[in-house]
Every structure is written in structure tokens, then in C-alpha cells.
Symmetry: C2
Subunit: 163 residues, 2 copies
DNA sequence: CGAACTTTTGAAAGAGCTCAATAGAAGTGG
DNA sequence: CCACTTCTATTGAGCTCTTTCAAAAGTTCG
């Protein structure tokens, strides 16, 4: 899944990507800032906010879980914020490391999203993302056997780029 | 107050500015990503996380407040994220509107922070921030009678710039 | 007034964007 | 299986915006 928002100038900002098992859209206020879209076949479990809050009110364990969940979400956002003030190379490196951690098998990451999605996620253009991938490949930090399959060849180099 | 983090390359990223009455640092996880600093004389009330969570476990009203609080924090972060992918002019315009809303008296905003703080908050350099202020003044969107006193002369122009 | 600090301004360099073309992948129908 | 179309990704060249480095102007405080 991806959450996104269309800005007034037509650009699209992606709020985040969600993988199997992830929880998203936990909101306690009424403004729904982002829309959500499936990018692959997806099963979704929907929970009513009022039901969740009511449940948390009765069950301290649920409440605790909920706090932990929003805590993680906040941390993710903060990391994201830090990523967005960096250079294109740092953003792409950070993105790959994030995806490797969340969805990687060994050193191989299958990206479920397009270059355009990545660009809108990182606040870059699709051309810059593509060029940066090529650059990282040239620098032997990654390999790109297929456009959506990335092999991390040198994580410490990526981590170094990530700032 | 400002919260901040020093990146590995020495740059400083400011997490946020907090004004009188604001609550900050509500964390449910153990990683303290940001440090905090007072930039003017400040009185701070400190609440232990464990105490707060325990209280929320007993008092549903407190729990509800806490959810609302983190919800606002999340929304603030999302807006921030949107700001960080925009142009310098959009970032500065957005910053001024935010500050006007939070601390403005009529059309006058007294900025408690330095240009460097603003730059580190917006992910720009101090020179770019300064130039952008000058540009907005030339465009009659704001006036700058003193370097830390901003008069909003044309909010709709700022809002338009804000995207 | 003089020293230290903050802010503004200038000129050149660099990073990323835009526009445009090419290349590659995936699906369709003969 | 191959031509054809469509969609996605890569590459190239020029331009724009932001940064960098440097200097000047304004502020604050002893």
C-alpha cells in the first residue's frame, strides 16, 4: 500500500509504503491528510477508530500497544524528516536501507513500487532517482539485475552515504 | 524551546520549536532521537513517562487526551514533511504562517529563534533564509522592521506560495 | 567606542530539475 | 513467435535554484 497526498500544484507526495503485516492510518484526529492505494493485490483489515479507542479504554494492554504503535509511527516520521533534508544520494541510500530492513531477503530487495513512487516518496524527480541508482551501481554499492530488484553489495557504503 | 539533532556530518537538524504552553517530548519508545534546548528563559514541567502511562491506564480521560496529543504531533510532523519537499520560498512562507498561527499577535510575529535556527528547521542555509525573507519583503508579502519581528502584509500571497 | 555576534548581500559553483530522446519490459492480437 | 502498442526506466543537455565562500552591514553588550 501507499499513502499519498496531491499537492495544490499537482505534485504527489507519498506519505509512506506499507508492507504485509504493517498497520497504517491510525489517526486520532478528524483530518484525513492522506489517501491510501494498493499497489499490489492486498487484503486489508479495517478497524473503526471509535471501536479501537473504546477498546483501549477498557483494556490497558491494548492501550499500551496503541501507544507503542503511535510511538513507532512518530519515530518513523522523524527519520523520514531527517531523510528529506539530505542530498539525493543520501535519500536514496536511506530508502534502500529502510526497504532492506523491512522487506529484504538477505541482500536482495524486491521493490514493489515504481521509480515514480520512490521519487514522490523522497521528494525527488524520477530522473534523479534513476540517475542515483545508476550512480550507486557504478560505485559498486548496489546491483540492479532488474529494475525493481536491488542487490545491496556494500551496506556500509550505503550507510555512510545515508549520513 | 527547540529540539534538535546533530547529524553525523555536523549539520544540525531542528525537530521543532515549542512555545509557552506547548507539550513536547511525549515519547513511548526508548530511543531519544532529539535533544532539547531553551532559547529564552523557560519554565519546564517534567512528567515521567511511566507515570504518565500509568495514569492513562487508570484514567480514560487522560488516555484520551494523550491520544489526541500524539495525534496532533503526528499531524504536525506530516505537515512538516510536506514542507520539506518544497522550494525555499514555500518553506519560509509555510514557516511564517505556522509561527503566525501559533504565536502571532494580529499580523505581527515575534520570532524567538535566530536565522540559523530557522535554516536548520527548514533544511536550508542561513543565507537562503535571509535572501528569501528579503525576497518576500520586496514582493510586499511581509515587512521586517527588525530582524526578528515580521509583519505579515499579505497572507493570501504567503498561503499561495505555501502551495 | 570597540569586540563579538547576527544578518544581509554578492559572485561563483554545484545539485537537482526540466525537457527531450532513447531503451527496455510487458502485454495484445495476428 | 513476432510485430505493435503502451508503460516504465534510463540517459543527455541546458537551465534554475540553492549552496558555498567571502565580505559588508547591522546589533548587542562590555
Amino acid at each position: 500500500m501507499r499513502t499519498y497526498k496531491i499537492l495544490s500544484d499537482g505534485r504527489r507526495q507519498i506519505g509512506g509504503f506499507y508492507l504485509p503485516g504493517d498497520i497504517f492510518g491510525v489517526e486520532f484526529t478528524d483530518d484525513h491528510a492522506f489517501s491510501a492505494e494498493a499497489i499490489t493485490d492486498t487484503k486489508i483489515v479495517v478497524v473503526k477508530r471509535s471501536a479501537l479507542i473504546a477498546l483501549a479504554g477498557r483494556d490497558a494492554t491494548i492501550a499500551h500497544e496503541l501507544f507503542a504503535l503511535t510511538g513507532r509511527e512518530l519515530r518513523r516520521m522523524r527519520e523520514r524528516m531527517l531523510l528529506l533534508v539530505k542530498s539525493a544520494q543520501e535519500r536514496v541510500a536511506g530508502f534502500l536501507l529502510e526497504m532492506a530492513e523491512r522487506a529484504g531477503v538477505g541482500n536482495i530487495v524486491e521493490l514493489p513500487m515504481s521509480r515514480q513512487d520512490i521519487a514522490d516518496y523522497l521528494g525527488l524527480t524520477i530522473e534523479t532517482v534513476s540517475r542515483t541508482f545508476t550512480g550507486l551501481e557504478t560505485a559498486a554499492a548496489i546491483a540492479v539485475p532488474a529494475s525493481r530488484r536491488i542487490v545491496l553489495r556494500n551496506r556500509s557504503a550505503l550507510r555512510h552515504l545515508n549520513g
